[in-house]
């Protein structure tokens, strides 16, 4: 308590009229606070920037040979073709990627396999430089099964290109 009494006495002894001007340090500090607050209120908000979208995939024309690398190995995307349309099935990597049950289809023309419901190696077209599988020998049921798969793919995955036989790359796309 001694200290308090001492200080009170000290302050009382001071001359009370010492600070009657405008530019006292206290006023300057307060003014600075006022200006800063006003400035920060008036400063336009920085417009919201959201990250740019993923760039769109460019539609490509594949041949069986150029499609081959897209089998999901070495961090490649997983593509497969059904009746000339190339689907990006990377999101279904667990099924179509390496080690998945459908891994044989990755980077290949999967039409025949999907139609026959078989995941075997012999469903794929062996000759990568030959003509595409015409699927002419498929039965009605098999074609229907394939159409069902195609429909599901269209709902779930993106069409990122078309598949043509080697030598047909420059031909115009046949519109359906």
């Amino acid at each position: 308590m001694d200290y308090v009494q001492q200080r009170v006495a000290q302050e009382a002894a001071k001359d009370g009229g010492a600070s009657s001007g405008f530019f006292t340090p206290l006023n300057l500090i307060l003014l600075a606070v006022v200006f800063y607050t006003t400035f920060s209120f008036l400063k336009p908000k920085t417009p919201l920037a959201i990250p740019k979208e993923e760039p769109a995939v460019v539609f490509r024309t594949f041949t069986p040979r150029t499609l081959l690398p897209y089998n999901g190995e070495n961090n490649q995307p997983v593509y497969l073709a059904v009746r000339g349309r190339v689907f990006d099935v990377t999101r279904g990597r667990n099924f179509y990627g390496p080690g998945g049950p459908y891994a044989n289809f990755a980077g290949r023309d999967a039409s025949r396999g999907l139609a026959k419901g078989s995941f075997d190696e012999d469903m794929l077209t062996k000759d990568l430089d030959g003509p595409l599988d015409t699927l002419a020998d498929l039965t009605r049921d098999e074609l229907e099964a394939m159409a069902g798969w195609e429909e599901r793919f269209q709902e779930k995955y993106l069409v990122v290109g078309r598949l043509v036989a080697v030598g047909d790359e420059d031909k115009e796309e046949t519109k359906e």
């Binding site: 006023n27 307060l30 919201l48 769109a56």
Partner: protein, 572 residues
């Protein structure tokens, strides 16, 4: 004493010393500070729309073709969904949940005379149709009367063997009535831009193979047309009140012997009073007719003839109705004024949309040529106006001159800042003062105007509006200003800025604002052209538009554009 005691003592002394300086000025400053904080807290407002919605306004497709940009669509019409194609017209007696028809022009007039169908306080309310003549004279037309005119004019033209009907009229009730008459009586309407030189009129008639013309005396060079365009079979004069007594049916000697001339007023007046009261029935109605328009390019170039199907037009009307948010949509309490030519499909689609929404519509034949917004809105108090870019630019220029004082400038700056933060200043002490002291009056009642629509027309050399001009205009008019990109082959608009988009950008290309996202009835892509190449980073090139409101489903617009970071379309 230890170090800390000394320190505490000096702090104590310092603070006491500082506050010992408290004086009357300090109190004033402190009150000011408290006032500013209170003001800020009490007037704090959320932006009108979420900033994310402005930061990305359109959706790009995940796959793009080589040499092209991704396909962009409005967020309201996402990929994988059908584009907005029609008005979803529910026929009487149809199931409430069944999908409606796309509709055509006939459904728009049926809706206009039926009144609001939705349950609610407005059920049954109909819009009014007005004509502004001169400065103050406003005439109201009864809807039943207009239905009768539509029927009688349609029947008359049909009975006289008309088929392709050219409409050469200024913005007027008769223009719209003839359009509906053609729709109901299976005639092909051709809308010609008004106030054209004689050889342009003849060339347009020839190219569109018109056999009938509905026009006004004084503006249509009858003698010359009859001589140089022998295919003309029929002519209907729309005579104004003042010259009704003259015999307009008389064909000048030696000319136009084969042309059947009559006047609008005679056709209506000479029919029995009970004739033409009911529209042709909805059941088994014929296919909707195509509408031909002429797009005016910059002066000196020939007009581009475009034939729109009825579904092109309804898709355009539907997408235009969609651009105004549901809570703010145009309704029976609105007065709509087309102050741009109805030969522009943007104006036409909006006007048809207003009729379909049971809003009141006012026609002023002088409005499209009005030098500024004040003149265009004379005599009435519109809430929604379609204005020409020239009139808006003039209005901006004239009003900006009156903002020369410091108070006006500062206040305008403050209001602009509010807009930039996404808040439209509508109330509050400062806003009220701004409105009463500085805002010019448009129309007969101040403060009524709430939406101004304006369109850039590709190839027509319309003056361009920058986003800062648009922002100023929002404050000067107190209305939301929406800027659209329009093209000959696209009914309505290609793209249109959002209702809540008040952002201002510096360094805009060509000093022209962006045009917002594509409307809900089109999708837009950009194709490589000249030096403009598409890449993963940049979408730019010639604007290509596809969708139900595009004549021929797909059109290349011939101008280059680019997609900005917020996915809005702008000129490149």
């Amino acid at each position: 004493m230890g170090f800390f005691d000394n320190l505490l003592l000096s702090i104590d002394e310092g603070i006491t010393g500082l506050f010992a300086q408290w004086n009357v000025y300090t109190s004033i400053i402190f009150t000011l500070f408290a006032g500013i904080i209170t003001w800020q807290i009490s007037t704090r407002q959320e932006p009108d729309t979420h900033p994310f919605l402005l930061a990305r306004q359109a959706q790009g497709s995940p796959v793009r073709q080589p040499g092209e940009s991704p396909v962009y669509r409005s967020q309201a019409a996402p990929h994988g969904m059908p584009l907005n194609a029609g008005l979803n017209v529910k026929d009487p007696g149809a199931s409430k949940w069944a999908r409606g028809r796309d509709g055509d022009l006939r459904d728009i007039w049926r809706q206009a005379i039926a009144g609001v169908q939705e349950e609610g306080p407005n059920k049954g309310t109909k819009g009014r149709i007005l004509t502004v003549e001169g400065v103050e004279h406003v005439v109201e037309h009864s809807l039943d009367d207009l239905t009768r005119q539509i029927n009688l004019i349609g029947q008359h033209i049909l009975n006289q063997g008309g088929n392709r009907v050219a409409i050469y009229l200024p913005n007027s009730v008769e223009l719209i009535a003839t359009l509906f008459a053609c729709a109901f009586y299976n005639l092909s309407p051709i809308i010609l831009p008004f106030d054209q030189p004689t050889d342009a009129i003849i060339s347009m008639l020839r190219r569109s193979a018109a056999d009938t013309v509905v026009t006004a005396p004084g503006s249509f060079p009858f003698d010359v047309v009859v001589k140089s365009y022998p295919s003309l079979r029929q002519l209907v004069w729309v005579v104004d009140e003042g010259s009704k007594h003259m015999d307009w049916n008389e064909v000048p000697q030696g000319t136009g012997g084969s042309v059947n001339v009559s006047t609008w007023q005679d056709i209506i007046g000479e029919a029995p009073i009970t004739a033409g009261k009911d529209l042709p029935p909805l059941e088994n109605q014929s296919e909707a007719v195509d509408v031909t328009i002429f797009w005016q390019n910059k002066s000196g170039e020939t007009e581009e003839m475009v034939r729109f199907t009825a579904s092109n037009l309804t898709a355009a009307v539907a997408s235009q109705l969609f651009t105004v948010p549901t809570v703010k949509r145009i309704g029976p309490s609105d007065l709509f004024l087309p102050a741009d030519s109805l030969a522009n499909t943007h104006t036409l689609a909006l006007t048809l949309g207003a009729l379909y929404s049971n809003a009141s519509v006012a026609f002023n034949s002088a409005a499209p040529q009005a030098p500024n917004l004040t003149v265009a809105t004379t005599g009435i108090a519109p809430t929604v106006v379609v204005a020409t870019p020239a009139a808006l630019l003039k209005t901006h220029e004239e009003t900006a001159k009156t903002f020369s004082g410091t108070v006006a400038k500062d206040l305008h700056w403050l209001q602009t800042r509010s807009l930039k933060d996404g808040i439209f200043p509508e109330s509050g002490f400062l806003t009220n003062y701004y409105q009463s002291a500085f805002r010019p009056t448009f129309g007969t009642e101040p403060g009524k105007l709430r939406i101004v629509l304006v369109a850039e027309r590709i190839g027509a050399d319309t003056p361009k509006l920058s986003s800062s001009v648009l922002s100023d205009l929002r404050l000067y008019t107190g209305a939301r200003v929406m800027y659209a990109l329009t093209a000959a082959k696209v009914a309505g608009a290609v793209a249109q800025t959002g209702y809540y988009d008040y952002r201002v950008f510096d360094n805009e290309k060509k000093a022209c604002s962006h045009f917002g996202p594509p409307t809900t009835s089109v999708e837009v892509l950009l194709r490589d052209k000249d030096g403009f190449r598409n890449s993963d980073e940049l979408s730019q090139g010639e604007i290509i538009v596809t969708g139900p409101s595009v004549a021929g489903k797909r059109a290349a617009l011939g101008v280059v554009g680019y997609i900005r970071d917020d996915n809005t379309l702008a000129y490149a």
